[in-house]
Each structure stands twice: as structure tokens, then as C-alpha cells.
Chain length 475, copies 3
């Protein structure tokens, strides 16, 4: 529905429908873009200006009046000026704005720039008007280009329901979807919203990049440089497929484990504290908040690992080696017997890897907003905790089967460095062992009691609260 409402508006001569008058204060880029769009949708648009004669830039069809006249001509007034210039509204006179709907579309240059949101500031300046925060999450470019396939939501907040409804109707008529974000208190959040650039993804992406670089260099030294130095062999072509196909699964497994480690640590902390009402350390809070992002990056790396693995038989190097092997067998005139253990091991290795990846993908799908909004808390915990730990178990088993008995053979420790897969097993094994401890009946009973609100020593805990005060509470 949303997708083509705009397309229709484009092709139809929509000026025929007259929708009412809208006033815009401010003739900057946003004001002009909004004016154009409103005109096109069939509104009468009146710009308020200090100097109504000098407005050559405004779109034809829009009228230009003084601020006061413009305000009187419309019920809804868009305030498309910077917060620093809000004072001019005081000069218009309260009675001209009384009962009007003032739409604050302003944004700031950086997050939490002012202690009070622009919209609340505006509301105090003009208490007689109904201030609605809206359209600030829409860019001037999106207004002109019709939003295209981007986010077409207009986030709206304000105290007065009828005023909000008017603004929502305008958004609807311009082809946007209005989303009510509650009262004007939400304005601060709305004003910070357009400034962010994946804030929750920064730490996980940095971590993934760091791990990838470290393991790439490690394996480069162990595999390629070792071969060049010791055997004088040039196997540098391996940096394109073989090395990434070791680095990606290693980092993926570590990050999947890091996804479940904070939950396990939290469990032990609660056991140690004897209460769930004690706040976790800050680092643990932050870690827990980016688990979803950690998991999705791990899934992306696992996906690349799958693709890198599946193209192996297509590679020139692999085909050449297989053919050489056959040729060598014939020349030596011996037939290597079929090794059932080898068949079992490799098949198990692949089968468990595939099942692990299948659950991995399932976890990824259920983290899509529209899916996770359709499951209740109990279902979400079932998927993310039960299936999540099962996935970790399968992927760890997959890695163990890959290694098999390599860890016993000294030849695999080139320059005394263990193979990469061994390093990748440390964190997952720690998580699995700790989790296993947590789900043993006696520990599980204790933790369940704590999570239901039981506390070991309320008195001591109150003392801690006294030390740190209110802010130390876990929110």
C-alpha cells in the first residue's frame, strides 16, 4: 500500500483536490521542500516571512504573507526554523497562535545538544499553542523524492490528541505513515534519532574487524609465510579463499560464544550476589545490549564460511590436486583402501556443521523485528536461549570434528603456533562448561529462585544501595 500511494500521486493531476491551508514559517531548504510537497498533495500553502516581498525562491503556487497573517490563515503551522530563532514567535503575539497546532520539525547538530528538547522549548515559548513534534526524521530530500523505498514513517509526538491527529492526517496525505510516539516527552528521543548511525553496531563491528585482522595475520604467518620460509613454496594464492575460509568460521564461532557469555556471567553474578536486584557492572550491561548485533555478525561470517566452503570443489587448486592424486595412485600402481573412519568423521563433520548453520539461520530470522514482535517472552527465550545454546554446541562440535586428532601431531604446530581452530575453541568451551554448571539441577534451582525475586541477605544488600545511591540500581 505504502509503496505506490506516492506513485499514484505523481501521475495524477492531484491539484484538483483542495485539502485546506497549511502555514509554514521559514523559507529554508526544509520549508521549501515541504511547501512543494504540500502544494502537490493539494494543500493551499502560506509561507510566513519577515519580508513577504523578497521570496523569489519559493515555489510558485505558495502565497507569502507576514508571520501574523500567515498564522491566522491556517490551523496547522510548520515551524521550519532553527531553535536559536524561535524567539520571533514571541513577537507575533500570543493571540495569533492561540489554539494553533505548531509542528516542530527541527533537528540538532549533535545528540542531546540542549538539556531540553526543541519541541518542549517551543511549547514553553508559546504555551497557548499545541506543539507537535513531527517530520524531523524525514529529510528534505525524502520529502522531494517521495521517500522512495526508504523509511516512510513520520514519528509524531505531542500532548494534544487532536493536534496529533491533524499532523498525522497531513503525513498520510503526503504519502507517509504516521507513527504515534506518545506525549511531547518523547521529543528529545525523536530529535536525537536522525543523528545516529548504527550506534549499537559500532562495538560489534569493531570487535569483528579486529578479530578478523588478528586471525588473518596469525594464519598468514602460520600457513603462507611458513611455507615460503621453510619450504620455499609460493602458496600466496591461498590468501583469497583458504585463509578467509579459516578466519571467518573462527571469528564467527568466537562471536557466537561472546553472544552467550554475558548471560552466563550474569547468572553467576546473581548467584554470587544472592539477588537479582543488584546492578550488573557497566561493561556487562553494555555487552548484553549488543548481543543481537554480535549474533548477527557471527551469522554473516558463518554465511560467508558456507559459501567459501561450497565453492571449494570448483577451485583450480583443488581440481589440480585431486587429479594429481589420481595420477600418482596410478603411477605407483597401488590403490589406497577405503577408510570408513575417515568417511564417518568427514560426513559427521559436514552434517553437524549444516545443522548448526540451519539453527543459526533460524536464530537470525527470529531476530527480524517483525518476527520477534510476533513471539511472546516465553517463546523468545525458548528460541534465543535453548536453540541458541544448541547452535553453539553444534558449531563447537563441528570444529572439534574438523580438528579430530590434529592436536596430537607436532607437525601441525608450525613455529610452535597452534592451528587457528584450536584458538577458536577456547571461548565456546568456557561458555558451554559454565552453562552446563548453571543448568545442573541444584544451581538451576537457586538461580530460578533468585530470578523469581528471592534474596539471600536483604540487609546487606540494602547497605550497598546506601553506598551508591539511587543511580546504582539496575534499571
Amino acid at each position: 500500500m505504502t509503496n505506490n500511494s506516492f506513485a499514484m500521486t505523481l501521475s495524477e493531476p492531484s491539484v484538483q483536490r483542495k485539502l485546506g491551508t497549511i502555514c509554514i514559517f521559514g523559507t529554508g531548504d526544509f520549508g521549501r521542500s515541504l511547501g512543494l510537497r504540500l502544494l502537490q498533495a493539494g494543500y493551499r500553502v502560506v509561507f510566513g516571512s519577515r519580508n513577504p516581498r523578497n521570496s523569489s525562491l519559493l515555489p510558485k503556487g505558495a502565497e507569502v504573507l507576514s508571520h501574523k497573517e500567515a498564522a491566522q490563515a491556517a490551523q496547522v503551522i510548520f515551524v521550519a526554523v532553527h531553535r536559536e530563532n524561535y524567539d520571533f514567535l514571541c513577537h507575533i503575539g500570543g493571540e495569533a497562535l492561540a489554539g494553533k497546532v505548531l509542528v516542530d520539525v527541527s533537528n540538532n547538530l549533535k545528540r542531546s545538544q540542549y538539556p531540553e528538547s526543541n519541541a518542549e522549548h517551543l511549547s514553553k515559548l508559546v504555551p497557548a499553542a499545541h506543539v507537535v513534534k513531527a517530520f524531523n526524521t524525514v529529510s528534505a530530500w525524502a520529502l522531494q523524492s517521495g521517500g522512495l523505498d526508504a523509511n516512510r514513517q513520520v514519528l509524531v509526538c505531542g500532548h494534544n490528541c487532536e493536534a496529533k491527529q491533524m499532523v498525522k492526517d497531513i503525513a498520510q496525505n503526503l504519502g507517509f505513515t504516521a507513527l504515534d510516539k506518545g506525549s511531547l516527552q518523547a521529543a528529545a528521543e525523536l530529535e536525537d534519532y536522525p543523528l545516529q548511525l548504527f550506534p549499537m553496531w559500532r562495538l560489534p563491528v569493531a570487535l569483528a574487524t579486529g578479530l578478523i585482522v588478528v586471525f588473518f595475520l596469525y594464519l598468514l604467518a602460520r600457513d603462507v609465510i611458513y611455507a615460503a620460509v621453510q619450504d620455499g613454496k609460493d602458496i600466496s594464492f591461498r590468501v583469497m579463499v583458504s585463509l578467509p575460509n579459516k578466519v571467518f568460521p573462527i571469528v564467527s564461532l568466537i562471536m557466537l560464544a561472546l553472544c552467550y557469555l554475558p548471560g552466563v556471567i550474569a547468572g553467576f553474578l546473581q548467584l554470587y550476589n544472592g539477588t537479582k536486584y543488584r546492578r550488573f557492572p557497566n561493561w556487562l550491561d553494555r555487552w548484553m545490549l549488543c548481543r543481537k548485533q554480535l549474533g548477527l555478525l557471527a551469522l554473516a561470517l558463518a554465511f560467508l564460511h558456507v559459501l567459501y566452503t561450497l565453492i571449494i570443489p570448483l577451485r583450480y587448486y583443488v581440481r589440480y590436486r585431486l587429479s594429481s592424486w589420481t595420477v600418482a595412485q596410478i603411477k605407483q600402481n597401488k590403490t589406497e583402501p577405503f577408510d570408513t573412519t575417515m568417511a564417518w568423521r568427514t560426513d559427521s563433520y559436514y552434517a553437524i556443521g549444516i545443522l548448526g548453520f540451519g539453527f543459526y539461520v533460524l536464530l537470525g530470522i527470529t531476530s527480524l523485528p517483525s518476527v520477534s514482535n510476533n513471539v511472546n517472552w516465553r517463546e523468545f527465550r525458548f528460541i534465543q536461549s535453548k536453540l541458541g545454546h544448541l547452535t553453539l554446541l553444534l558449531c563447537t562440535a563441528h570444529t572439534f570434528l574438523y580438528g579430530w586428532d590434529k592436536f596430537l601431531k607436532p607437525s601441525y604446530y608450525k613455529w610452535y603456533l597452534p592451528p587457528g581452530y584450536m584458538l577458536s575453541l577456547i571461548v565456546p568451551c568456557v561458555v558451554l562448561v559454565l552453562k552446563f554448571v548453571l543448568i545442573t539441577p541444584c544451581v538451576d534451582r537457586a538461580i530460578t529462585r533468585i530470578r523469581q525475586g528471592w534474596e539471600r541477605k536483604p540487609a546487606a544488600y540494602m547497605g550497598i544501595y546506601d553506598d551508591k545511591g539511587n543511580q546504582s540500581l539496575l534499571l
Copy 2:
């Protein structure tokens, strides 16, 4: 937006903003967790207690008053006590609660425990207050941990719009998204919601598991045990990859067909009844309701089948056999000629399988809630019916090409048991033949008329209604 509003709240000293006073009745786990969260968000929190002195467990910063005093201090009162204890509200006195917003956060231990929802019961006990059902779908743990990446929706219902708006604002301020579920009649549904654990998935999962077990044992007997008994060969390693890669596609195809079978049966039933206003049998209703789940499980199995197939060339067993074959050719000094029919057959088999899987994935994507909410009824039917049957046709053709002429060769009937793929073709073929009958012009015309409301013999049909009464109508 939702994702990081909480993160922001965590790091900022948010006590600076004072948001008003909230009263909480009940000092259990949920009450305390809610109190902590409200305090952190900047609310003043007043607990109502029978014995205000003895409340050592409450978070510092919260005040404790008698029930009556607490109620008078706030406009919004959270009732965080069990339904059995609602009577205490009658002792507070109606005038203290008159006009207040009572938020019922209670849940039951099992579905439909009481004939009347807790919130409606509360509304009858305190008719002077505005009862709003909310926050029951949020767990105490989610309140404390900030919801993390789980469902952050607070489902709200109630008769009074302003009361609902107040509760929605609170939810918004705590970092949740409020979703209006209508009037208080929806409370029963909301109270049952947190108790369910994938109710629609049980039957399809049980069916898939059953089919997988049956076919696994069948193929184990036919392939592995037969080889061990008759030829004394140990090919047990096949249980890891080869057998699953037969079982998964077989079960996937059967379940895809089971997805479309009820629609076809419904068509024939309507033709037979001569009306669409006759209710379907119960089993058919239930079957139709879990078609989406059947289809998604079938897709998951098809996905595993694809992965199991793609790793085939990587397997030790396959490489060994290919190499042996080449060696054998050389030793016998003969070159097998290139078989064009074989090339056609296998390539067609793969190509059709890939196209079928492509459409399969498309069907899966369109069943994501956010996608299916963006298509209208006509588009949904186009995808799920037209493309769905095309997918079934392609997958069935893929299986036929896989079999080719094997069904003619007695050697494939080990212990007189037909190969698994033959059994998997029965249901799809039935569905496709029946569907083909339904879309022949004359039958199609009859069924279209019936679906537009035409009835063959209204008199007889009224009689049936008289027999069974009102409940027998299809809703």
C-alpha cells in the same frame, strides 16, 4: 529507534527529569522490578502496602505508604497483585480510586483459567476507576534488563482512551513500544498470550518429526542394513549425510503437498455441498490453520536438503569413488562415451530443483509478517496459490527426474521395498491431479460461482442449520 533508546537511558543520569508520580500496589517481584524501572526513568514511585513500615525489600528512592495514601498520591496505579487478592481494593474505599487509572498487569497460570478476564473482573470490583490491561506480556526480567532485543511491545487495552494514553506514555518512557489492542474485551486474549509456546507449531513439528523418523528407519533398513545383511558391506557412515539427504527432501515434498491438500479438499467439499456457507469439518479447519507452519517447516527441510546436496563433492566418500572410477577406466583401458541423455537428464534435474527452491524461498519470504502485511488479498492469493502450486509442480518434477527409469528396474526394490522417493510422490501427485481437475474451465466456473455466494439448494441447507444450531456455522 527502539533498539537504543534504552541504551541511552542507561548511560545518562536520567534522574534529572521528573515525570510524575506512579503508585504500585504489590511488593512482589513484578512490583519491585517495575518500581526500579520507573524510578530509573525519572518517575516518583509510591508503593501501597498494608504495613508500610515493613518494606525492607523495596528499592531505595521509592516511598511506601498505606494503600489509601498511595492511591491518592498518583493518577496511575499499577495493581501488581494476584487476582485472588483483588478484594483488598474494595477495602480502600471507592472514592480514593474514583477516576484513577488502574493498570492490571496480572497473568494466569493456565489459559482461560477464569471465565472472565482478570482486568474485567477488576473493572467490576472498582467500577469508578478506569481499568487498563497492560504490561502483562512483559516479564519482570525484561523490565530489569531493559527488554534487550526481545519483543519490546507493551500490549494495551481498555475502555477509556485517555487512561490508555497515560499508560502508553509510561510504556514509551520506559523504552517500550505501546500497541493498542482495543477495548477491555481484548484482556482475555492478552492474559492468555504470555502462556503460549508456539501453539500453532506443535502439530506441524510433530508431523515433521514423525515423518522424518519413519522415513529414516525405512531408508536405514533399505540401504544400510540391506547392504550389511546381503553384501556384508559396512556403509554405516551413510547415516550422517546420504540418509538425511534422502529423508529431508522426501519429508519436505510431502509437507509442501500437505500444505496445498486442504485447499483442494475444501474446493471439492464446496462443490459437493453446493454452498460455501456450510462449515468444514473440524479437522479440515485445523489443518487449514496450520498451513503456513507446514510450509515453513517444508522450506527449512528443503534448505537442509540444498546444503546437504551442495557439500556432496566435498565428501571423502565421493572423492574416493570418483578417483576409483578414473583409475578403473585406465586399468581397463577403455573410455566410456559421453552420454548426452544422461547430461540432459541430470542437468534438467538440477535446474528444475533450483528453480523450485527459488520459488520456495520466495514463498517463505512473503510469509514474513512485515511482507505479508504489505500485500493485499489479491496479491497474497496470487503468491500463495499460483506460485505455491507452481513450486509444488517444480519440486514434483524434480523428484520424477531424479527417479527417471529406476521404477522399472527390479534391483531398486530391495526386500521388495520401493525407494523412498517413490513414496514421497504419492501425496504431491494426488494434490496436483485434484488441483488440475479444479482449474478445468467447467469446474472452475462452478466453484467461482459458489465462492461468490451462489448456493445450489438453500432449502436443504437451512435444514442442516436447524439440526446443528448456531454453533455449527463456519465462522
Copy 3:
């Protein structure tokens, strides 16, 4: 939640709850289906009929009265008659309908059939009633079958908030989700909604189909027919896998480039015009509006290309050729040396292709409605513009590496026709070169200024406005 609310209603004897009286005007298919569903949900249903005696088709449990009596019995009246018959409402008399909620459920036979929407027409006929447009996007079949897994949204619009709330409550009680689309002005859009069948997808699908057919025929001639005519070799089996695996990536790359070409053209147009307030030509507007669909089709084709590529080692033809090559080597008793350049080239080719596909999939995931609604404008541009062009760059590099030095060898120009991959590189290279020009510092500075609202020659631009008038404005 939505999924099983209906299932519950089915199995429970829900007649026990009495929800109030609903009146339905019209005893056609929709009216009857709606009546059945309302009865089942627990409502009392009263049909309004001209001839109350002759209503044998109505579901048992429903009462039939004259229009006037029926209207007086209920607060909410569903008008389930065609627009042409709305006049009968005038005969009922205004006082019977005054203050009532009239729900317009009508649809038209084609888009924009009437200049005024049915609901607005109804509102003018009965000005004393509150008209709400709703349920028109739900089919009679969906009403009966409970919506199953289709879109369960009931889109609601109307001027009166309380009237809308009543209709939303009814939708909720019937197991649907109500979605507020604003005031009655949105009715025209809602009435057109059920008639559309993927309007935005037509052009991209037609384009993809056309390109696939053209390239298939081109490659058929170049590869298969050439081999048959010149060498007398039958390699017709290639049409199943080899040819599609050339056609799909070629068309996918061209369509991905076509996705980013309009943005680049728009940039140059803005540079040329010296303003962003000049409207783009119509064809460019349309093109920009279907970029998302172009990109998703390109992704689907890339997905098929990946699957077709991954099954290559499974193909009989490939295995036969590999084996023949080994046999030939042995017979000639020479060993081909390992070619490191070849290893580098093919590995790079695969690695870059995989990374490109990975970003491709990421772009696809972020275009899911639920994901794109959770990113702000800045994040959306980062993904779609930065990552999009990176994807195009990787996929183009993948194709160049595939070609390598083939373009130098005359033997590849069969019948003087260049290989398909060369043709596929034209559009991507144009886009990348133009984009590269746009991001050079000096050009980038100019375009950024224009996009922030700067204009080169406002006077001339106003003249253009005068020529074309208001409609020529870019909305």
C-alpha cells in the same frame, strides 16, 4: 498473537459472550459472510432488508428487520451494498441514522472509478452519521476462513475518532488487527488498494523477462547453435544449466547497475540545472520509484546464479570432463605444472563474487519493511548508497576477473559476437565511472550545496516555473 486468536475462537463455544448489536444493510455475499463471523464472535446481528420476510439465505441466529428498525437497533451499521444503491439510505430518514456509525465496506471494479470515494459520497448522502471506511480490504472468503495466514489488517479511516474506535474494536473482536489510516480523505486510497496486483513490480519484471529472453537467445546462438553448425557437436544439454548460469548473472549485474543509474543521472541533472527544485523528467521519476524492485529482482537472479554455480561439480558433464582430463594426462604421460597465476585468478574471482553476493543479500535484508522501518534516513542512505555501490563494484570486478584476458583472444568472438559477459559490463562501468566523477571532491562539493538548497540562478529557474505552472513542480 494474531496467529492463534482465531484458532482459539474456533474451538471455544464463543457464543457465550454477548458483545452488542450490529446492523448490516445488504444481504449479498459480503453481508452474509460478515454476519456469520459477527454471530460467531458473539455479536447480535440484525440485517436490514426491504422485504424482511424473504431472507431465507441469511445465517440462522441473525434477525431480519426493515431498514429503519434495524438501524434503530444498533449503533454500528455496516453498509454492504454497492455504491449505486446508496440512495435507499435517503429513504430511511435522517433521524434513524443520525449519530450512527456507518461502515462503508464497498470496493470498486476498477481504480479511481469515481471522482469521489464511495465513503465520502456516503458521508455526503447521510451527513448526520459518522462514516468510517473499513473492511473493504478484507475479502468475504477471508472473513469466513478467518484470514488464515494472510494479511489480517483491517485498514480503517474516518473523521470521527470514537466511531473509528468502535469499528476497530469490532475488527479486533473478529480476530483482525485494525490499522488507522487517518481521516476519510484516505478512503479513495483504501478503495483502490484491493484492486492492485503488484503495480510497482510490473515494469521491473517485464524488464528482467525481456533481458533474460534476449540474452538466452544470444547465448544459444553463440554457444549451442555455433557448436552444432561449425563443429557438428550436440551440446544442447547446456540449455538447462550452463546457459541459465550465464544469463542470470548477466541480467542480475545489468539490473543492479540500472538500480544505481537513475541516482547518478539525477545527480548530473541537478548539477546541470544548478538547483534541486527543478522537477526530473517523468521517465526518471518512474525509474527511481522502482529501484527497490529492480534491486530485489537482481538479487533473486544472483541467488539463482549462486545455486547454479554451486551444483557445477555435481554435474555428470563436469565429472566426465574432469575424469577424461586425468585419463588424457596419464595416457600422454605428462604432468601439467601447477599454474599459480591461474590459482590466484580463479580464487580471487570466487572470493570477490562471494563478498559481492554477501553485500547483495545484506541490501536485500535491509529492504524488508520491518528492517527499513527501524533505520533512520542517514543509516538507510549509508546502506543503500555506500554499500550498494560497493556491491556493484565487487560484482563488476567479479565479472572482469571471470573474463580475464578472453577479450584479447579472437577465438572467443564466435560469429564476431562478443561473449555475453562483455555486454553485461557496459552499464555497470558507465554507472561506476559516473559515480566516480560525482564523488570527486569538487563535484561533490557542488552537488552537496545544491542538495542543501543552494541555487545557481534563481531568476531563470522562476521563469521555467512560469512556463509550466504548478504541476511541473517536483513533488
